[in-house]
């Protein structure tokens, strides 16, 4: 049973705070093991990666077979059905079209003092994308990570994907091909992150690593952060649906279950302004859980972390939504655009009855890598910006230096940084000669 809360109940604040504060994931502490693996890869390079892959994935690699060859990729991609290919191509095209619009512009201007100022964006030279193996090996995630990198202009994009017992998902290779990935390595775990960050004889180091992974991968990403850039460390998925009574309870139930089926730690929350409608959705969830393929996972998530909250009006719903700061927010109400004005903290908003969150996972266009665990309060989903960096530019003329240099000198003096002031003063003295 999920929890049922009524925002008008006297104990609501306590119970809502408990819901917000509930710890949904207990990551095993694998940090010591990961530190050892990283040290091993730094010391022994390729051979360490080969040994660890033999141990964890039960396959024997050589430096020559670490990467998929173009022929291997072509053969695997050949096996993809035309329907799957068409769907993946549509997804790639729509994701690309959305992310192209994210490209920021350089700026350069001259201000009234004669100072030319501005900034310039440039792409990270090389990026690595971690793709999980096995069940969670999602081709859609390859597109969502690789396409923004290529749109940003990353010159070299490498993928690592473990192939336990030699098994690989051909759709992952097709997604890599469609996204323009340059290198695909059949390695995984902390050893793959270490190889990307520090490089080996076979794998050149990258500057930025993104992509989801298990506890080992997450711990390795935390450890190499600083040496390279990383994206967020994502927690279990979440959805908040705000719905009025004018919805098909079964649709809302399926939207809630589409998060719940990801992971037993996923969280699905419904906020409704009609208690009876909330009950009908909960009943529809139960009914769907009878037959859903992943009912064990989805059922555990709904039972342990699901919630149905009744509010008196949509203003209250928006206020609670801002406190939840959900990864995914569906607004199934008569005027979703108006309500969205008030729901300011969310990773992605899905507006209206015809926009189930699953559209955003695959073909909508926006990225599906989004901030979890309330971090939408201060962070954003993956975008081309994650593969760009900004260099600020400044050029003074003698006139500009005359106008603003003395203030810099004064502040340097007040901060006891004499050489700072002298570097300005030497030039001003020259101009005043």
């Amino acid at each position: 049973m999920p929890v049922f809360l009524d925002a008008a109940a006297p104990d609501f604040e306590t119970r809502f705070a408990a819901l917000l504060g509930a710890k949904r994931e207990d990551s095993p502490d694998v940090d010591a093991a990961v530190a050892k693996i990283i040290a091993d890869v730094r010391a022994r390079g390729d051979q360490a990666v080969i040994d660890l892959t033999a141990r964890f994935d039960r396959i024997e690699l050589t430096p020559a077979t670490m990467a998929f060859s173009p022929e291997e990729i072509a053969a695997a991609v050949e096996a993809v059905s035309p329907e799957d290919r068409a769907a993946l191509e549509m997804a790639a095209e729509r994701i690309r079209a959305y992310h192209v619009r994210q490209m920021p512009a350089d700026q350069m201007w001259t201000d009234p003092d004669g100072a030319t100022l501005g900034w310039r964006w440039s792409a990270v030279s090389a990026a690595g994308l971690y793709v999980p193996g096995g069940l969670a090996s999602y081709p859609s995630s390859v597109l969502m990570n690789a396409i923004p990198a290529k749109v940003a202009g990353v010159g070299r994009l490498a993928i690592t994907v473990p192939t336990p017992d030699g098994v690989v998902n051909p759709l992952v290779l097709l997604a890599a091909q469609l996204a323009g990935v340059d290198e695909v390595y059949r390695i995984g775990g902390a050893q793959a992150i270490a190889a990307l960050a520090y490089g080996t004889d076979t794998i050149a180091p990258v500057d930025k690593i993104t992509g989801p992974g298990n506890a080992y991968v997450a711990a390795a990403k935390r450890r190499v952060f600083g040496k390279v850039g990383i994206d967020m460390i994502a927690g279990p998925s979440e959805i908040l649906v705000i719905a009025d009574a004018d919805n098909d309870p079964d649709w809302i139930a399926l939207d809630l279950l589409s998060q719940a089926e990801h992971d037993e730690s996923a969280q699905s929350i419904l906020i409704a302004d009609d208690a009876e409608f909330g009950q009908r959705v909960a009943a529809a969830v139960d009914k769907r859980l009878e037959t859903l393929e992943r009912r064990a996972i989805a059922g555990a998530s709904w039972r342990d972390f699901g919630a149905v909250i009744t509010v008196s009006d949509m203003a209250q719903a928006a206020a609670l939504s801002n406190r939840i700061a959900p990864e995914h927010l569906e607004l199934c109400v008569a005027d979703p655009v108006a309500l969205a004005e008030h729901t300011v903290h969310a990773g992605a908003i899905f507006l209206g009855h015809w926009t189930p969150e699953a559209i955003g996972d695959y073909v909508g266009g926006p990225n599906h890598v989004l901030p979890t665990a309330r971090s939408a309060r201060f962070s954003s989903g993956l975008s081309v910006m994650d593969f760009l960096k900004r260099t600020t530019m400044a050029q003074m003329t003698p006139e500009a230096l005359r106008a603003i240099g003395p203030a810099a000198e004064r502040l340097a003096t007040s901060e006891s940084l004499e050489a700072h002031g002298l570097s300005v003063r030497a030039r001003l003295d020259h101009l005043n000669r």
Copy 2:
């Protein structure tokens, strides 16, 4: 003596790699102590902060005196000289004018399939800014952190600044006032970071924490990351000057020293296409070091980490610059704009003879919080973006769902995520009824 390298020498690659790889800072391992302080503040709130402040800063606070009162701020600000005030006001105005231009635009469009897509930027609700006490209590840093936050639209901006033995820098309070800071607390160290991240009865929690600090502050920021957002963990400062022989060696020497005087771990590098000019700059550094107030610090930095590299031409200089990926890059050459086209990895570029780096520290306009330790390969300086987050938006119509829904369903099936597919299918079935 700094190292002198010649890019044409047979051992250059080895020596340059050693220069790049040199570890300049050994941070003490204070993580265990910091974990204890954070746990204490989470458990005992205000009282823990008061006890720790008594211990580390030797002042006795109460919840009522934790924040500076408006009267205290007014009195302190009163003591600032008109010259210092004017300089700080000019700096604030120029920094604001630059950062206002960084505000990104929302976008919303409808694509040929009828899907309305876009994104919306919104400000972090509350931010905290750490300001060091004592010698490194720089009013310029207050402006550089607080102004982007306020330009972004942060509603509540709190500063913490320790006041050991009750001493406070009035310019810090004036800078806070000019930047529009809402609350100023006289606390510091890991306890200040913990109070900002988790809140106490007196200090409401924030969503994002920025600002420089010592090893305790850095360790605390790492620990609270995830609960709140943080900016970068900055390392010691760096400058790379690329100069031809047509420069006054003394100006270049002062520019190199203006980084070196920050910290014994700071690094100043000169790349010149004329070996003799490099020697003249080194001689000028030595001469300035005879009288510089901070000669002990600047001298140690120059001796231990300084470098003078001779190259055959400016193309080679740009290539080396990209490998160094410096925090600050000065281009003192005839055509700095042309050279800047080739120096793609740098936090900030200062163009031409009239733009000493110190201008950028105070009054240029661009931010002086910049990526260190080669992280300009993948990250950017502080900006309004650090105080904004992006929410992606998507709204399908029945027609749009008909056009792209089947592809989403197909991909969901291929990823064995049945409820994802069903959430689309239920709507499509309704439309096809």
